[in-house]
């Protein structure tokens, strides 16, 4: 197992290098650079040249890339061109917000999706099943930004239950923090929940049709034991795969949701970095998100080994 984890981590290195190449060159394809963004309307050639030389932007792209890569390997992600703040500390400030958003969305989605999907499968073709399928379709179809906007309109402006945007740290005031985070989490997690619910339902249905379930019934196990001991663990195997992929969706979706609810998270930071052509910050953010995704996938594969005894690393 340990050997496998180490192997997987080593395998992540080429992936991350590939991502760093894409991140580095893609952002430079966007018209305008840091200097045009910095100078804005006061732009003139002379000053631009001086600034470019100062930030090392006058060197050939490939050289720039390797300088950056060398620093990153040494743990130095550079400074933001705008705020002069070190990229790592800027990300570290914003990361807890995004992590909390993802975590809450994740919990919300699985706590609703897995029980609902399971019940829908057990009571196939019942009112509950049809209701769950309808909700599932609705959840997948509704875009998160639209749902977020509706939440603000309804719960913030009309009912005034929750604040429409902003953030208070959990350590400062947990209750207020939750009030700020509930709407964004639900808006972000709904689509994920819908996908997971549908997957749980179909996977459960498949498992319930298996011979070993018939055998378990013939053994005289109670209905509860049949579902919880014999069916659930088997039905989780595909669900975990989907969950892993959906975490990527949560990461991407958090950019939009953070913007809508004015949450100071990594998504907002990346957006800001793109607008400002803040190369160092942008590259740092992308690399961080990519590493996060690689780690999540590693976790998924480790969970597999627990669920499925046929998989041994």
């Amino acid at each position: 197992m340990l050997k496998y984890v180490v192997k997987r981590i080593l395998m992540a290195i080429p992936i991350l290098i590939g991502i760093s190449v894409i991140a580095f060159f893609l952002i430079r394809l966007v018209p305008g650079d840091t200097v045009t963004a910095l100078l804005g309307v006061n732009y003139n050639e002379e000053q631009a040249l001086i600034l470019r030389a100062k930030y090392g932007l006058d060197k050939p792209l490939v050289v720039q890339y390797f300088i950056w890569l060398k620093n990153v390997v040494a743990g130095d992600f550079g400074n933001s061109f705008f705020t002069k703040e070190p990229v790592l500390s800027a990300i570290a400030d914003r990361l807890p917000v995004t992590l909390q958003l993802m975590f809450m969305s994740f919990l919300y989605s699985i706590f609703i999706a897995i029980p609902l999907g399971t019940i829908a499968a057990i009571k196939r073709n019942s009112a509950i099943d049809y209701g769950a399928s309808f909700l599932g379709l609705l959840g997948v179809s509704v875009p998160n930004f639209w749902l977020g906007t509706l939440f603000i309109l309804f719960f913030s402006l009309n009912l005034k239950w929750f604040p429409s945007g902003g953030f208070i740290s959990f350590l400062e005031d947990p209750v207020q923090n939750l009030r700020y985070m509930i709407m964004p989490s639900v808006a972000l997690g709904t689509a994920v929940g819908a996908v997971v619910m549908r997957m749980t339902r179909s996977s459960m249905l498949e498992v319930l049709g298996q011979d070993y379930i018939k055998m378990a019934e013939a053994k005289g196990v109670t209905d509860r034991r049949l579902i919880f001991n014999h069916a659930l663990k088997n039905s989780f195997i595909p669900v975990v795969t989907v969950l892993g992929i959906q975490m990527g969706y949560l990461l991407g979706g958090s950019v939009v949701i953070e913007k809508i609810f004015s949450l100071p998270g990594v998504g907002q930071l990346s957006l800001q970095a793109i607008t400002n052509r803040d190369y160092a910050l942008m590259q740092g953010c992308i690399l961080l998100v990519a590493s996060g995704f690689v780690i999540i996938n590693l976790l998924v594969d480790i969970i597999y080994a627990f669920l499925n005894p046929k998989i041994r690393y």
């Binding site: 070993y212 055998m215 019934e217 013939a218 053994k219 005289g220 499925n308 005894p309």
Partner: protein, 327 residues
Amino acid sequence: MKEVVLEVKNLKTHFRTRKGIVKAVDGVSFKVHKGETFALVGESGCGKSVTCMTIMGLIGRKKNEVVEGDIFFKGRNITNISKEERRKLRGKNMSIIFQDPMTSLNPVYTVGTQIAEMPIIHEGKSQSKAKEIAVNMLKKVGIPSPDKRVDEYPHQFSGGMRQRGVIGMSLACNPELLIADEPTTALDVTIQAQILELLRKLKEDTESAIIMITHDLGVVAEVSDSVGVMYAGTLVEKALVKELFKKPLHPYTKGLLKSIPKPGSKERLTIIEGQPPDLHNAPKGCKFYPRCSYAMDKCREEMPKLIEIENGHKAACWLNEVNKNGK
């Protein structure tokens, strides 16, 4: 005669489908005694598995499944007892082995856990005691180094070993009745013989009654004491094994026996022409008459009853009546 473990009286299992009612089992009666192996023979879809699933109580719980008739287990009518009481019988008093050992074990639990589950749920045994029973059962069914194998997963077992495991699981609570639903069909021939031998040995040890479902007359001759031949949801012949092989009375049984290849014989194999009837609209009279070479007018009109022809040998065929009257 020994104690009757199971008696089935005029059992009917019908399924309501969109195309109409399917009479999968239509009036089957038989008895199985303690220590007896009763074989149910017939081709695919003749209702042998449905009969046994109904006896187990695994069919008849859904709205579209209609069960009529009576099932007596050790003298007690269990047809209409509560779901919960029926569940308690399953596994403890009657258990079943399915055809495909590759799929009848849960892939995410060890074989030992799955065997141990039986004494845990039915006899309230502790985990460690139950595991001891599991090791014993594996030993009993002839699995080498059972104390190690008990912690292995089904995918680490070969097909024959898995079937042994399933048999061990089924017998963990010493049930009075064991139903073996084509237990050797999915196995290769050498393993088949081993499994049959094992079942015979276990039956001698435990004295439990066995219903052996099969379409293989070789298996019937090998292990069973008495035989019921099923065709399109009804029993068409019932006899002791020797009697049946010596003197089959129903044309269908005769056809079945003729279709077994004999080693060394140059004779062509005879087949039974045609297909079993569609159970949505089975023929009115004898269900076999469209395929029967002896069919008479009466066969078309009226269904023959399963009646005793000579010392316990029963058949449902008008032909026997004619022969009798002819004498």
